[in-house]
């Protein structure tokens, strides 16, 4: 046997208690099943067609044929049971594909379960002794568990990666500091403020103040969903920071609800300037920077 097993593969096999005799059993059962795999694919898709996801992923006959041939080679490799790096790598690719097309994990688990049933019941020709049959099924179950674990691990890793990329993009979009007048900056905040976002907001504001040498910044919080003690403290911290850059921060858009919570929570906003509307804040900013508006 050309079993080139790296330590990673050996660790996996040990974790799932798959011994060499188990692998032999899988191969033994494979001798019966590999010729019947086309039947398996037929059975499997008969079931899959009844699933709502089927239409979504396999409406194109070409994609369907491709998936079927991939599935065939997947299970062929499974029953040949040459568990090496390439085998594991192939399972990872499968997980990546599932994550990319957005196949849900419940459907994946159901498919694996369905496959196991087809292999162990429908396609079994009863040629083995009961003991051998039992041992074979146990070995196959273990190997399937290992397979599933690799696929799911890859799947969740990719999904998490996607989520963190999205939140990164969201963070970048969530601090739109704009110069609305000479010496006046404006930052509308929408959504939820956590400490990470507060930090981002502060950094964006400070670097913009340094760039534009602005004297006043208006932070509009009318789009902030909830203001609790933590959020209020973040806001106060931000205003103090801007003050150190010689820039006064006005918080506008303080709604009655927010005002009530702030006072109700007993938060001391100190010297922070607040206004109910953006309009008031803008007027204040104009008077601070000496801008006089006049209708022609």
């Amino acid at each position: 046997m050309t079993n080139v097993t790296s330590t990673e593969v050996q660790q996996l096999l040990a974790d799932y208690e798959i011994s060499n005799s188990d692998i032999e059993k899988v191969r033994m059962y494979g001798k019966i099943l590999i010729p019947k795999l086309p039947d398996y694919v037929k059975h499997f898709y008969e079931w899959l067609e009844t699933q709502p996801e089927f239409v979504e992923h396999f409406s194109d006959p070409k994609a369907l044929a491709r998936a079927q041939s991939l599935q065939l080679s997947y299970w062929k490799a499974f029953f040949e049971a040459n568990i090496d790096d390439e085998f594991i790598e192939h399972r990872r690719t499968v997980g990546e594909v599932h994550a990319r097309i957005g196949l849900s994990l419940p459907v994946y688990f159901a498919s694996v379960n369905k496959s196991l049933i087809i292999f162990s019941e429908r396609l079994y020709d009863k040629s083995l002794s009961p003991q051998d049959y039992l041992a074979c099924i146990q070995a196959i179950t273990r190997l399937i568990h290992l397979d599933t674990a690799i696929v799911v691990e890859t799947y969740s890793r990719l999904t998490n990666q996607k989520i963190s990329e999205q939140s990164q993009a969201l963070m970048e979009m969530s601090t739109p500091v704009t110069a609305i007048w000479k010496g006046i900056l404006m930052l509308p905040i929408v959504g939820i403020i956590d400490s990470k976002r507060a930090q981002d907001i502060m950094n964006a504001m400070l670097s913009k103040i340094g760039e534009t040498r602005s004297k006043v910044i208006i932070m509009d919080i009318s789009g902030v969903a909830v203001v609790d003690t933590a959020v209020a403290n973040h806001l106060i911290k931000i205003t103090k920071a801007t003050k150190l850059m010689g820039c006064e921060c006005t918080i506008s858009g303080v709604s009655p609800a927010i005002a009530q919570t702030i006072v109700g929570l007993g938060i001391n906003v100190g010297e922070v300037q607040t206004t109910a509307t953006l309009r008031d804040a803008l007027e204040m900013a104009f008077s601070k920077t000496g801008v006089v508006l006049r209708r022609e």
Binding site: L206, S207, G210, R213, A241, L244, M245, G246
Partner: protein, 131 residues
């Protein structure tokens, strides 16, 4: 006690003492700097003290506390202190370090800082009877 001079440049401009910090601080520099500044304030009777920090790249909470205590001392001597040109990086780290920033005046440019001092002087009236 023999204190080395801090080598911080100090100039009297428009009745304000402008101190330019050209290198990152440490305790010794701070100690001698404080001595020199307070001495100079008494000699000149300046109504404002402008600490130009625009050349600084780093400031830890200890440095800042030291400077802040100095501003309190200056205030007792009737002088308003304005921090000038703190960089975004320094400010953000100070806030993260949870430094107490109450009562600190700051401006981004010297010009703004002079205006700030003027504002305070006019709101409080003559602060230093000597000038």
């Amino acid at each position: 006690m023999n204190i080395e001079p801090s080598k911080v440049a100090m100039n009297l401009v428009n009745g304000c003492l402008v101190a330019t910090l050209q290198f990152d601080l440490n305790r010794h520099i701070l100690d001698s700097f404080r001595e020199e500044i307070l001495q100079k304030l008494q000699e000149t009777g300046a109504r404002g003290l402008l600490l130009d920090c625009s050349a600084l790249t780093l400031m830890d909470s200890e440095d800042f506390e030291g400077l802040k205590r100095m501003t309190e001392m200056a205030a007792l001597m009737g002088t308003t202190t304005v921090f000038v040109g703190l960089s975004a990086g320094i400010v953000s780290s100070l806030v993260e370090l949870d430094v107490d920033l109450d009562g600190i005046h700051a401006a981004l440019t010297l010009e703004d800082a002079f205006d700030r001092v003027k504002e305070f002087a006019s709101s409080k009236g003559p602060v230093n009877p000597k000038s």
